[in-house]
Symmetry: C3
Subunit: 321 residues, 3 copies
């Protein structure tokens, strides 16, 4: 019998949430710092340096106990893949994270916080009326083949291709991308370029192709870890709009925990009319009870041209298993 | 890597089922004694007496292999929560059992049998046409924060609060409750008071507030364990109805197993018209193959004013893992 | 605490697929050789030769990360049952494999490949426009009670009964069947006869009863394992159609792997009009990296009267855990 690893994150917060242009809502929410999930994975050593592996992972909205990130998400939206790796690099088949996801979480101090990371908010979320997320093609891709190079120094390059699995005339539509990460001592660099003709997680053909890219990094000066990223996107909501997002951040050791701060600004050009600006600042404190469990508190201020600004407050508990 | 516990119950019966006012149906059914479920949980010792924990649990209708207790239930309707406990007591965030659930299963000999416990039938089920369940707000609450006191002698008191997580004008609607359990030698006492403005498991605003309470207990005389409970409810189906439920029960060691008997009577006052009475008697025998696996048989007789009565027969196998 | 086994299969392929009468589609697909799944099971020794057991298993479409074999499948469509076994044989209650399933996979060299086994294609799949699958009642039955005899020599006989769990007038509708397997050294024999008044996995009453049977076997001559089966069905799409399916196959050790070949021919008589013939040939090579992980490639040629023929090509990776 093989050995299967069960892992995941249970992350809940209590907060008073107000994004730009929305009403204030007091709530208990799921996934303040990490989207809550439950998964099963394993690897098998095949000899000759080869390894096989699999991963099945589900997101969970712990507030209601619903599967997925939203109604209509696929059950194993986080992971449903089989892989083979060895001296040639790695090959992964199935649903797995999209090119934009890992780079985006490495270059900002709030990581993959879909609730409170300004960068993730601007790239992936649609909370703010009138705002258009820059990474249209989701943080996971279905029908995906990913080839990853072997580690060259600290560099890994990944080639991503998503089949449509749709019948004619959409059978040749695809998503394609390159992403890369580089780790060397205190330095982290990451980036991606992706173009998408398909929606996710439920695949259908977009009316027009969208593309986006980002490059960024982090440097750990010990007294502060500094983060910086810049990215741009074209043809998101309409064929002709574009956007650019600059993000700066810092993580500062303070007491037993860390003070976190990140600011993102996106200039969104909707085509005909003048630029709209989204400006989001989050400041938080993350206190680790252990390597697996932390308590966090965040204040987020969010502005968007033409709407009233919003400030959110939250305190939460994240437990990794 | 952390250690995750997989647990659950697989419980199936074959029976001929007839509730008051319904047609007889021969069937193989799921969850005769315990609603079948599968779950994942774990705890982490954080030092200083602190512990973190999580639980994800799904109900399963094993007859069809469907998730949930009914179509439209949430996937992790049983548990989806993260918790922190220590000298201060315990705090639990997410979906977890509602205030009425644990008290109700402690004070009757059929425990949490949604199929055959007269008390659970009267509180939580809608099998009988025209009958209105007294605990309108489900046995699990979404968007819930539960604070539990440390054990004071054998006493634990729990404060429950459910956020609506709904937008205006329902943002301040809530469910709120207090529940308590007391264990001391042969004596068990349990009770709750809850008021609900929200539905569950899928949360929406009720048209009017409902409230219900129950107090009960059990005493183990060795040759018999006796059970008694009384509870009442207001404003369930309409703003102005009310109900009161008396339940008596006994569990008697007999051979290697236990003879179980429970009778519940509910006087339901629908407002304008005169009282309707539901009277349900279940007698069963539970034979343990082991501490984890038992064989059971139950006869249930069910009457409700204005309908024909029904008698159900079932034999089932329950396996806990 | 009990010990729960996690098991499953992660199987993905990249292929260019064209069934008879369909358009060619290049895709990454789930379940080339085995339908991908994830499951939880366990057994408990009760003493006196008795054992209790349970199984919960979900199919997964790994391309999109969706649960089930298709939209609308039940979540635990593979397994949701509890069982008791001992000297008397075995009794299984809940959702489990149907009478046709295990025999069908034993008598053809592609086993339970719903994508590429000609026999499974003809019995269970509806990819080809106008073709009617012969085993109408699914490869799993809901509401099922299965009694299995003790092993008599290498023989096991199973009696299957499916309750409708439907209200009047469909309360007495049922599916019923007998199946058997026999293993003795190099010889495998298997067969079934089933009649179905109910659909699966979501149970409703069929307009008329259908029946089908199959008998087949395999013999391992070492240099080749030969497979042969014949089966017939009545009243599938309409009350009055019928079909007969002959399948021959071989598995030949070649290098470190096995060459697989299987041919199935079904004569489908739709009633009024003349017979339609489906002829499907698959040839493949299966290379084992280990006992748990294999690489496979398959070419399948598929013809059906009145439509253009199709040839499919695929290469895939299967990992059992």
């Amino acid at each position: 019998q093989s050995s299967v690893t069960i892992s995941g994150t249970a992350d809940m917060y209590v907060g008073s949430i107000k994004y730009a242009g929305t009403d204030r809502l007091s709530k208990v929410g799921s996934g303040g710092m990490t989207t809550s999930w439950l998964g099963f994975s394993g690897t098998e050593d095949l000899g000759n340096g080869l390894k096989a592996g699999f991963a099945f992972g589900s997101f969970i909205r712990m507030d209601s106990g619903s599967y997925g990130r939203f109604n209509g998400d696929t059950t194993y939206a986080r992971d449903a893949n089989v892989s083979l790796s060895g001296g040639f690099g790695g090959l992964k088949l199935g649903r797995s994270s999209s090119p934009n996801f890992v780079p985006s979480l490495l270059v900002n101090p709030f990581g993959a916080s879909f609730a409170f990371s300004p960068l993730i908010q601007h790239m992936d979320m649609t909370n703010v009326p009138g705002y258009v997320k820059t990474a249209q093609a989701d943080t996971g891709w279905s029908n995906q083949v990913v080839y990853s190079t072997p580690k060259l120094g600290g560099l890994t390059v990944n080639l991503h291709y998503q089949f449509s699995n749709l019948s004619s005339p959409d059978d040749n539509k695809n998503n394609a991308a390159i992403s890369a990460t580089y780790f060397s001592g205190p330095l982290t660099l990451a980036g991606f370029y992706e173009q998408a003709e398909l929606t996710n997680p439920n695949v259908s053909a977009r009316a027009f192709k969208t593309s986006d890219w980002m490059i960024g990094g982090a440097y750990d000066f010990k007294f502060v870890k500094a983060f910086l990223s810049y990215g741009a996107a074209d043809d998101m909501a309409i064929d002709g709009d574009d956007a650019g997002t600059l993000q700066v951040g810092a993580s500062v050791p303070l007491g037993a925990g860390k003070l976190l701060a990140s600011y993102a600004q996106t200039n969104y050009d909707p085509g005909a009319s003048s630029d709209l600006k989204r400006k989001t600042l989050s400041v938080g404190y993350d206190y680790p009870f252990s390597k697996r469990t932390d308590l966090y508190t965040v204040v987020m201020h969010d502005r968007f041209t033409g709407t009233n600004s919003g400030t959110s407050y939250a305190v939460g508990l994240r437990h990794n298993f």
